[in-house]
Symmetry: C3
Subunit: 222 residues, 3 copies
């Protein structure tokens, strides 16, 4: 599956990292971080999912700290955000679409890399999803927010999970290649974009839950 990490697809990966890093840089700007904070948040958000992937499958040092191309893509996003963040406001819709593409690429690449390194099907699906959502979770924790992906009811992790599952299935059948891989990307991307356009959501637990329970329940209701 080198097709996903070299050649034309690797350029797409740089775009994916850049787009994810933009969301990290913007979160840092909103929190009034300084220039170092903006650059680190861009790096963590763009590459944190892949770093988590590589640590979990034992491929150290992670490419998110060793690849000049990837680190440059993430830091470049941070620099651009630092200087030009108001301009990016107008591109909100474009960035959401690019972010859906990044989600799809991260899932395919994270799952495939993990499978190729022998991590097994289940671990590879988990790692594929974490590659896609891990950077955003780190971003939210570092700016002091509850991770959006856990609470905003959007279909973000669900397309990732489906894409990772299909990728693993194709790999087990021995038919994961450039064509089928791009099929996965199109599917995850399309599912995400359609769900955005239609406002689809996933459910929350039932609303009748008001009771206090367990260790420290009191402070939970602050």
């Amino acid at each position: 599956m080198d097709a996903f990490t070299s050649g034309p697809v690797s350029y797409l990966e740089l775009v994916a990292v850049f787009v994810a890093a933009v969301s990290g840089g913007l979160a840092a700007v909103r929190k009034r971080f300084d220039v170092f904070g903006v650059l680190v948040l861009a790096w963590v958000t763009g590459l944190g999912g892949g770093i988590l992937r590589d640590v979990l499958i034992g491929d150290t040092p992670p490419v998110g700290i060793s690849s000049w191309k990837l680190v440059t893509a993430a830091i470049a996003a941070g620099v651009i955000i630092f200087f030009f963040h108001p301009g990016l406001e107008r591109m909100r819709r474009s960035i959401l679409v690019l972010d859906a593409a990044a989600l799809a690429l991260f899932v395919l690449q994270g799952t495939t890399k993990s499978l190729d390194l022998g991590a097994g099907v289940l671990a590879s699906v988990v790692v594929g999803v974490l590659t896609a959502v891990g950077g955003g979770i780190m971003r939210d924790v570092l700016v002091g927010e509850v991770p959006l992906v856990f609470a905003d009811r959007q279909l973000y992790a669900v397309p990732a999970l489906i894409g990772a599952g299909i990728t693993a299935g194709l790999w087990q059948l021995g038919v994961l290649g450039l064509g089928t891989g791009l099929g996965v990307v199109v599917l995850v991307f399309g599912f995400r974009v359609v769900s955005l356009a239609r406002g689809w959501t996933v459910p929350r637990p039932g609303a009748g839950w008001t009771a206090r329970w367990g260790r420290g329940s009191g402070r939970m209701e602050r």
Copy 2:
């Protein structure tokens, strides 16, 4: 020490993961997370300590992402919480007791695995404690709370530390087996349950500390 990871003990492990995962799922419900958030919090809380253990001792991919049995136990807890959380309220006391059993099992198993993989006595004690308390710390960070285990004054980490120390001592003496191992579990479990029943606490630093100090001291008092 395969006795702790196969045979009857491995069923106890599934129960331990399930119980820990329940506390994660309930924390997610309290925060109004969506279904993905509830399942991830259940997984992180049930298996995060073991994932931390495996990453720290270099045993990748961690069983917390690669074992079908363990992942199923954690996700099952999340699903049940998602649908039936009000019913679990009535089981508060039972769950606290089960959680004490989970604490004891995680300590024994985490310390032993680390010793068996050659991590040394000190690292294995640290890893044993982290196996037991790491998932809860991740749960609290992800829901935006200060980790309960650092601040609630309960005897939770202390029995874990004592159990990990005794496990390492037995291992060094060459007498760690199914019998002595279960002795450790009973000791940690009993210590935890008795401390709960009697309301024992560990001390806080003296209360006279009101001064401001160091970098960023001002914002600490917000």
Copy 3:
């Protein structure tokens, strides 16, 4: 580069860990953590950067959990803070100076260890900076604060980055030894202390940024 991990320099390392651990213990005291919380925060802040380094470069188990000397230095700081924290208030200025020395030592040692283990120049610079600032970031996340190093505009990470870059350059030229290494330490230390004395700061993004943007922008402004 064994000169940096044995002999006289290793004593300096214990002092560096101790000083960093003091800041963790004090943060825990401010948050009214219990004795376990104080000790864990001291340990995480003193050794968390090195643990992150070792996990990222695949050197497990990390010395931060396996070295008796290092763990004792961190825990000793926690114990002293637990009992004597008001007295440390008067030493504020001394501790800031010692912390600058710790920053410098961590950068040199983290970068060098990573280079020696073959992680490459870019990864080693990243890892060197993370060795120096990682413990403080973990401290802040665990006490529920936004990491100070991202937002306080101080020259803290910048001297670390410069020091890591110079260390990597010296290593590539084959002239990194005890003398040049100590030169790096003096440079990072001096830069940090002078920037403190003069109140130098790094910039924030432009202040005109008030617009809402992207996923979850609403809740960012809470």
